[in-house]
């Protein structure tokens, strides 16, 4: 199994090399598609292996932790890997189906696979500095994707994205410097032992610094300002993969570091406060918007609040609920942006005032939108319901009624803004600008992810069970520490 974990990095990086070398578009497409499919298969294999036999450790180059760099595939990482690989594959198929993505941009597949490699490494790494490197790989690729083929107006908006990304990376580096100065190690498992001996005030300060750094990437309140400006400017598949994955990698890093390095034994009021504000401010921002992509961008922020809320309880139930919610969000958020892309592709605009009647002209887009929208709002039997129900239960167990009430309030507002898109773009007499029928490939890619979200909704119980085991690992820390520090491979 250790070889498969190594392959998870070799596949996307090998695809980068090949897609740069191959002269013909059709070859580049095939390599990229095969690589993404292989990544998905390998991730799922790792998930099943890890759930059965415990964490898989790869000591890169044969150097054992804490001296060397360890790759750690535990349940949480494997779960995130699998769902991310599915989203990456779905969006790639969509991007190939939509004309002009990889035609006009020969390096599209290389950059896309670089992004995939960065995401995979971020989930797998057991080392703080390698996490920084993974973020840089991912963000550098994202800078290229978001600025490519952009006009002056988009360049202005994406400048915010690039500058904020660089500032966050700088702070991340400062944090790593501080933590290394305090403990003398950057290996996560080793840190979890040594940070316990550090002065509590210093540990808290470093903990919040990391919360802030990853909070910028995850777009939590009040650090989300960059997201709704920059995300909608990119082409549909790029926005979709950013929305589905990048902020969630930030959340993953928050959960990983907060549970492993800065554990708490009772619910954290400041984190819950931030979570509540993120939910409400995000959804209120969404209601004020009149453009599909901008509405959805604010919803990204709002939904991040739910994940942070699950973490804030610091209970197995809470973190398990957060994990289920992330899995659901990766898929549904990607689908929502792909559907937004389909509407834009057909009409040339995403403004609710300028497009209407999609339901009558292209009913297939409406069929794809409806389950995803209801899932986002958290209605049963869709996938969002499983996550939200688990979060509410976890909140009751911890006795945190207020934040639970806030999250339910935000859900109602989410449903309201989904109906706004529905009644604005899908109902009514079709506008004249609805001219291009969506390509079959794009519909199929979106449909595949919709089906996955339905499966997540129906298989809520087994998913919650795996997530509960993953959350147990995260909170006990012992299995992670023992696996990394003792075993060599």
């Amino acid at each position: 199994m250790t070889a498969v974990v190594g392959l998870l990095l070799v596949i996307p990086l090998g695809a980068v090399a090949l897609t740069l070398l191959l002269p013909k578009l059709v070859w580049r497409r095939s390599v990229s598609l095969i690589a993404s499919t292989a990544t998905l298969i390998a991730s799922v294999a790792v998930l099943f292996g890890v759930d059965g036999d415990g964490p898989i450790i790869v000591n890169v180059g044969g150097w054992e932790a804490p001296l060397g760099i360890a790759l750690v595939a535990d349940r949480f990482a494997a779960l995130m890997l699998s769902v991310s690989a599915a989203a990456l594959l779905g969006v790639l198929i969509f991007a190939v189906g939509q004309r002009d993505n990889d035609r006009a941009f020969p390096s599209f597949h290389a950059v896309y696979q670089t992004l995939a490699a960065g995401v995979v490494l971020a989930f797998l790494t057991g080392d703080l500095f390698t996490l920084f490197v993974a973020f840089e790989i991912m963000l550098t690729a994202s800078y290229v994707l978001i600025t490519h083929r952009a006009g002056p107006e988009q360049i202005r908006a994406t400048m915010t994205y690039v500058v904020v990304g660089l500032v966050a990376s700088g702070l991340f580096l400062v944090g790593i410097g501080l933590i290394y100065a305090a403990t003398g190690t950057v290996n996560l498992a080793d840190l979890s032992v040594r940070l316990a001996e550090v002065d509590p005030a210093l540990r808290t300060a470093i903990g919040w610094l990391f919360f802030m750094v990853f909070g910028i990437k995850a777009a939590i309140f009040p650090l989300f300002f960059w997201l709704p400006d920059s995300y909608p400017t990119a082409v549909a598949p790029v926005t979709a993969i950013f929305a589905g994955l990048l902020t969630k990698v930030g959340v993953y890093a928050i959960i990983r570091t907060q549970t492993l390095l800065f554990p708490a034994d009772k619910p954290s009021t400041p984190i819950l406060l931030i979570a509540g504000l993120t939910m409400v401010i995000g959804v209120l921002g969404a209601i004020a918007q009149g453009d599909i992509k901008r509405i959805l961008s604010f919803h990204i922020i709002s939904q991040i609040g739910y994940m942070i809320m699950g973490l804030g309880f610091f209970t197995v139930a809470g973190i398990a609920a957060a994990i289920v919610f992330i899995v659901h969000q990766v898929v549904v958020k990607t689908v929502m942006f792909l559907v937004g892309g389909l509407v834009e592709n057909s009409s040339g605009t995403g403004r609710l005032k300028e497009v209407a009647g999609v339901l009558h002209k292209f009913p297939v887009i409406a069929v794809l939108f409806l389950p995803a929208a209801l899932s986002l709002a958290g209605l049963p039997p869709f996938s969002g319901f499983v996550g939200k129900l688990a979060l509410v239960q976890a909140g009751f167990e911890s006795g945190r009624w207020l934040v639970v009430a806030v999250s339910l309030f935000a859900s109602v507002l989410t449903l309201f803004s989904m109906t706004k898109i529905w009644s604005g773009a899908f109902w009514g007499t079709p506008t004249d600008n609805l001219v291009r029928a969506p390509a079959a490939t794009m519909v199929m890619a979106t449909g595949g992810l919709v089906a996955l979200s339905l499966v997540i909704g129906l298989a809520g119980q087994p998913l919650l069970e795996i997530a509960t085991r993953a959350a147990g690992d995260l909170l006990s820390q012992e299995s992670y520490r023992a696996a990394v520090l003792v075993s060599g491979s």
Binding site: T2, G6, A17, L20, V60, G61, L71, P106, A110
Partner: protein, 145 residues
Amino acid sequence: MNVRQSLLAETGSRTVVPTIFIVSLFLLVVGHDAPGGGFVGGLLAGAALLVVFLSGGRNEVRTLLPLHPRSLVGLGMAVSITVASLGLVFGSSFLDAGKITLDLWLVGEISAGSSLLFDVGVYLVVVGLVATVLMELGRPEESAS
């Protein structure tokens, strides 16, 4: 673009550029046991390309390179990934390094690690990236996309 830019710069670059390239290769080879390596060597070679660019322009850089910059990056990545994967197959893990020692008559013992090959890949990637940047920044405005 083909206007002769400066006699002084052109003549100067003709002597300076090969020297920089040789030093960059030296850094690449010693990198395993001493300061240096593929990244630093690649950057130095990139600096040589920059000198060529300043004295001769974009086309001069392009004619100097055996491959399209994009292919250079791809080739370098392919080399590095292959070496890294060999560790997966023969060694204990991904990126595991092997080492061979050759006893050459008169020259003495030479040892080379598979990490040298890995560094060659890194070198190519860095040179390719610098070249890509030069080609893009130096692109005449009318053909900009």
